[in-house]
């Protein structure tokens, strides 16, 4: 059987226990470990917060990139729209010219019939790039034809005149006179490109 602990008395009634060097060292060690634990915890917490912040920033970057992509797509769409609008605008003169020609044809059809139709077919059968007709009239009982139009330059007009005369020869019609004046011509754009406004000529063949 173990002997019970013996009580040693001390009449000094020490209020606080005297600490041995070992106890002091143990306390210092414990405080050091505690400090390291607290510091480590703070470090881990700071690292976790930094990581969370990085993740948030990464997500923000992704969001911004996605918005930029959307904006780029919209910009591209807008550019295409602008290009299309410009192309449409560029085609407007030709459309107006075609409309004018169509109106002229309708007016002419009201009076003459086959002669006009044959003259129109012969004139429009000639396809000359860079030239388009804006008016066609037939007078003098179908003996006199007058064509008006626009072209990028004088050469297409001359080539058109020669080929039109070849085509009109079977109808005993001939275009002998040419009036040309400088004019601004809007050229049709290439695919996806911007329409170009360039100098050209307006002409009248009769």
């Amino acid at each position: 059987m173990n002997r019970p602990a013996v009580t040693h008395i001390n009449l000094l009634e020490r209020k606080t226990p005297t600490l041995s060097l070992g106890a002091v060292l143990a306390a210092v060690l414990a405080l050091t470990v505690l400090g390291l634990l607290v510091h480590g915890r703070q470090t881990v917490s700071a690292a976790w917060q930094a990581s969370a912040r990085n993740e948030a920033l990464g997500q923000q970057i992704k969001d911004v990139q996605a918005k930029l992509t959307v904006i780029s797509d919209e910009k591209a769409k807008n550019a295409q729209s602008v290009a299309l609008r410009q192309e449409v605008e560029a085609l407007q003169p030709r459309a107006r010219a075609a409309q004018t020609l169509l109106s002229a044809v309708r007016n002419a059809e009201g009076g003459r019939g086959d002669d006009f139709a044959r003259a129109l077919a012969a004139a429009t059968a000639v396809n000359e790039p860079g030239l388009w007709l804006t008016n066609l009239s037939l007078s003098a009982a179908g003996k006199r034809l007058e064509l008006q139009g626009q072209a990028a330059g004088g050469a297409p007009v001359l080539r058109f005149a020669r080929r039109a005369n070849d085509s009109l020869q079977s109808l005993t019609l001939r275009l002998d006179s040419l009036d040309m004046q400088p004019a601004t011509v809007v050229a049709a754009p290439s695919a996806g490109g911007t329409p170009l406004a360039s100098s050209g000529v307006s002409f009248r063949l009769y």
Binding site: P4, V6, E13
Partner: protein, 315 residues
């Protein structure tokens, strides 16, 4: 609690019991199976005892430095009483004891320093009310003594009493299961302590100045010894009656050269084996041969040695 104190040993100063001061330095941090080593054992004559600053300074100058200091008070400077243990939580024990002591005190308002130690009976006699030893000393007296000791370089970490010092010696002599009576004498009288498993169960002190014996004839000396023997027998009976689970099997008599023949007288009068204390069984005195060779110095230093044994771990 002396947590952390005296882990290597003590320098114990005994200020009472004789017209001299005594200091013992004991190294208790020894290997298993080894005895504590006495590093110094000194006696300094002094008429004024603990108040003799010069004698104290000279005494301490011859003791090893570095050991914590301990003082045992003269018997006249403290009170020792057995009291019922108050049925209060441990944290309220001191206040409860102070109140109980003040009721019996002639000066209830006097401030006292208090210590206590239980008398273990709860395992063997659970139905019996518990008792404890309460030790008191006037605070003012102790404070004055501490102030007087300081210039001499005596700054005790512990203030102890003679009975617990003798208890430590008896406890170290105990064999397993036995109770032991230790008889020790000083210049003023003869004291008994009864221990069991290291705890103090009974103490008695019989005032009998050596000075009276020195001039006594053989018949007067015999009557004085007879009184001591009777008191010892009554004490043994008291222990057996009060603590039936204890059987005192031996009486150990410390060296007492001032009372020649007392051990033999006791051996004849007491119905138990009576043995002389062989201090060499308890401590290693190789470093202090004057102690080993002098029963008188052993007798004078017995309380200081016992007090310094408080650092010894029980086996």
């Amino acid at each position: 609690m002396d947590w952390g104190l005296g882990s290597r040993g003590w320098t114990a100063v005994d200020c009472g019991g004789s017209a001299s001061l005594c200091a013992v330095s004991l190294k208790t941090a020894v290997g298993a199976g080894q005895r504590p080593e006495v590093m110094a054992a000194l006696e300094q004559p002094s008429e004024t005892g603990a108040a003799d600053t010069e004698a104290l300074r000279g005494l301490l100058a011859l003791t090893p430095r570095g050991l914590p200091q301990l003082v045992t008070l003269p018997r006249a400077q403290y009170g020792l009483r057995v009291m019922p243990e108050p049925a209060v939580p441990p944290r309220e024990m001191a206040n409860s004891l102070r109140w109980a002591i003040s009721v019996d005190s002639a000066d209830p308002s006097a401030e006292i320093n208090l210590a206590w130690m239980r008398i273990p009976t709860e395992e063997q006699m659970p139905a019996r009310p518990r008792h404890l030893y309460a030790i008191t000393t006037p605070t003012a007296t102790l404070a004055a003594q501490l102030a007087a000791w300081r210039p001499a370089g005596l700054r005790p970490k512990v203030v102890d009493i003679r009975e617990t010092a003798l208890r430590n010696i008896a406890a170290a002599l105990e064999r397993p299961g036995e109770a032991l009576a230790l008889v020790a004498a000083d210049a003023e009288g003869v004291g008994f302590v009864f221990t069991h498993e290291g705890s103090l169960y009974l103490d008695r002190y019989l005032s009998q100045p050596v000075a009276e014996l020195a001039h006594a004839d053989e018949a007067a000396r015999g009557r004085a010894y007879e009184r001591i023997a009777q008191q010892l027998n009554r004490s043994i009976d008291a222990v057996h009656r009060s603590y039936p689970f204890i059987t005192v099997k031996r009486v150990v008599v410390a060296p007492m050269p001032d009372r020649p023949g007392l051990p033999k007288w006791l051996a004849a009068q007491v119905p138990l084996p009576v043995e002389g204390l062989d201090l060499a069984q308890l401590v290693d005195m190789a470093a202090v041969p004057q102690l080993a060779d002098s029963p008188a110095l052993q007798a004078r230093c017995l309380v200081a040695i016992g007090a310094a044994l408080r650092g010894l771990k029980a086996d």
